[in-house]
């Protein structure tokens, strides 16, 4: 493990911001610390940087305990949330700052800065001041400045928070590619699950100062381990009366989460579904939202509101219309853990997700079934 946190605890007054935090990060990985605001993720990042001291526990970087080592000596690069670019220095001077501190000779500095300008596509902007740059350019300068002295660990605090939604998408890809190109172990903090899923190859989910789950984006998505993660990841609605749904029996659970993609809703005359129509239930559409690339339906199913996505290519539906609804699976949870429950009726017939997918897709017309 390249970075290790062992039994880290930290309080702000009465507020327990880090509660026995333990995790390790492998060299070369790109890790997201994901959690809602106030979950302690930024504090963890700042403790690794040395901007905060833990009350107890060890922080180990490259096999060395760094608790008592000054931030500047830890070999880290830090990208601040608002970038904290030096406003009275040019792009060039911003990037060169850390190198000057290392007493690098002038020509070497020039070489390194030019290399970084080329890498980050900032050529020609070196004489500009930060306020003459766009949000995306500022982020690239902040990135270049942070990696200029060749740190072995890069920390980024909400790196996309200060950027317009439109540019953000591009920058996610850019940052991911850049970090792999440079080959630097990186940890970034975010509250946006899409961001974490797209950029990181490992995600650490924090909540109320505790680590909830660590895993790859797919693992986190497919097998959430705790009630918090089931709820936090994906578009999830919590329901308590899950056992009223056809195909699910009451167990020793407190509630369940159904994601839209776990549900199929179809009109009763839909031939594709004729062999499962008997195990589906009838519900009524109570709301339709246009989501840009699809519709989001809310269907009242025996008093349980269910959300489902519907392709725009399928037949039109309207509020009040009766639909047949089939739920393949859901995540049930008790106080500590989350469990995957599959629709028992579907299971009996040996129909799994893939079968259903093939029901839905018409290979001849290359489109979804109406």
């Amino acid at each position: 493990m390249y970075v290790e946190l062992k039994d880290i605890n930290k309080h702000f007054g009465d507020f327990h911001v880090a509660n026995n935090v333990n995790f390790g990060i492998e060299q070369g990985s790109l890790v997201a610390l994901l959690g809602p605001s106030g979950s302690g993720k930024t504090t963890i990042l700042r403790m690794i940087a040395g901007l905060e001291n833990p009350d107890s526990g060890d922080i180990i970087i490259d096999g060395k305990r760094v608790n008592n080592i000054a931030p500047a000596e830890r070999g880290i690069g830090f990208v601040f949330q608002n970038y904290a670019l030096f406003r009275y220095m040019t792009v060039y001077d911003n990037i060169a700052f850390g190198l000057e501190l290392k007493k690098m000779p002038k020509d070497k500095i020039k070489e390194r800065v030019n290399e970084l300008l080329a890498l980050t596509n900032l050529n020609g902007l070196e004489k500009r001041y930060p306020n003459q740059l766009s949000g995306g350019q500022r982020q690239r300068v902040a990135f270049a400045r942070a990696i200029a002295p060749n740190p072995s660990l890069l920390l980024l605090d909400e790196p996309f928070a200060a950027i317009d939604a439109k540019v953000r998408q591009e920058l996610r890809t850019w940052l991911r590619q850049m970090i792999y190109k440079v080959g630097i172990t990186s940890i970034f903090v975010t509250h946006d699950q899409d961001e974490a899923v797209e950029v990181a190859d490992r995600i650490i989910i924090t909540n109320k100062g505790c680590i909830e789950q660590i895993g790859s984006p797919i693992e986190i998505y497919k097998t959430p381990e705790t009630p918090f993660v089931t709820e936090f990841i994906g578009q999830s609605a919590v329901i308590e009366d899950y056992h009223r749904l056809n195909g699910f029996e009451k167990g020793d659970y407190k509630g369940a989460v159904i994601r839209p993609e776990f549900v199929e809703a179809f009109k009763s005359d839909n031939q594709k579904f004729k062999n499962v129509i008997d195990i589906s239930e009838e519900g009524e559409i109570t709301d339709i939202l246009f989501r840009g690339n699809s519709l989001e339906l809310t269907i009242d199913l025996n008093g349980v509101p269910i959300t489902v996505h519907r392709s725009l290519e399928r037949r039109e539906v309207r509020v009040g219309e009766k639909m047949r609804v089939l739920i393949f699976k859901l995540f049930a949870f008790d106080d500590e853990k989350a469990y995957l429950l599959e629709n028992s009726k579907l299971k009996e017939r040996n129909i799994n997700n893939e079968h259903l997918e093939s029901y839905l897709y018409n290979e001849n017309t290359n489109s979804f079934v109406i």
Binding site: A49, A72, F86, Y88
Partner: protein, 281 residues
């Protein structure tokens, strides 16, 4: 900026009335006194004007004033930079209280400042024996009250918050993330200040120095309590006071002549202020 664009175009009837009231008020209350000083100072002609500026009392007062001003400005600029850094780059308990203490000289009578030094260093002051023993031990003749050091201290007291007051708001809007970033990269305090913080407050500092200078040159009440020897420890405002109270028509004109010097400085400060304000935009 978008503000103002909308409304500044249309002035309207009420606007015209308000503008006229304002212009008259400013002319009558603020500009006329300046003009009056100049007119009064030239009542006896240029020859008299220059003669009254070159008496030995006036020249001595000019020297004392300049010395006190330079000392006060240096001390208060240093203080302003240090206190500005302290109050904006760190959070600590009692910060607001400390900021309030720094502003004390704004709200108390300058005469009380003079009194405070008399009660500290004067005949009855608790620090008088200390200074006496220093003088006895080292054979020096340090005097504070009714001497030049007293004048310098009083001037410093009255102008104490002038530079910090200009710097602190600028640093507050700047925040502290640039300094944190630099510190994280391993930069030392002095380098951070010189390369990162100071460029932000360069103009605010200069502006503060100018205001501080203007106020220091003109300080009257505090110095009046601490300076009693004309031709030795008198500053220009005290000299003006002495000439004016002498009461003869000639000496009153001389008082206005000396005043005209300070009026010109005041005008110069206003012009500079405007210049620096534009620089900041």
């Amino acid at each position: 900026m978008a503000k103002g664009v909308r409304d500044k175009k249309k002035i309207g009837k009420a606007g015209v009335i308000l503008i006229v009231i304002s212009v008259l008020f400013v002319l009558l209350m603020l500009v006329l006194p300046l003009v009056s000083v100049i007119v009064n100072s030239l009542k006896e002609g240029f020859g008299f004007y220059f003669n009254s500026l070159s008496t030995k009392y006036v020249l001595s007062a000019l020297g004392v004033t300049l010395l006190a001003t330079v000392c006060a400005v240096l001390l208060n600029t240093f203080f302003g930079l240090v206190a500005g850094w302290l109050l904006t780059k760190f959070s600590f308990r009692g910060k607001q209280f400390l900021a309030t203490l720094i502003d004390i000289p704004f709200s108390i009578s300058p005469v009380i400042a003079g009194l405070a030094y008399i009660m500290t260093f004067g005949r009855l002051g608790w620090a008088a024996p200390i200074i006496d023993s220093i003088n006895n031990t080292f054979g020096t003749d340090i005097q504070i009250v009714f001497a030049i050091p007293g004048v310098i201290l009083a001037t410093t007291f009255v102008t104490f918050p002038f530079v910090s007051r200009e710097i602190i708001p600028v640093l507050n809007t700047q925040g502290r993330d640039e300094e944190e970033a630099a510190a994280l990269m391993g930069a030392g305090g002095f380098r951070i200040f010189r390369k990162i913080t100071f460029p932000h407050i360069k103009w605010a500092t200069i502006y503060g120095v100018i205001l501080c200078t203007a106020r220091a040159l003109g300080e009257f009440g505090a110095v009046a309590a601490l300076s009693k020897t004309r031709g030795k420890t008198f500053t220009l405002p005290l000299e003006i006071d002495a000439l004016y109270l002498a009461g003869s028509s000639d000496s009153i004109t001389a008082a206005f002549a000396v005043s005209s010097l300070l009026v010109m400085i005041a005008i110069a400060v206003l012009v500079l202020r405007n210049f620096f304000e534009r620089r900041e935009l």
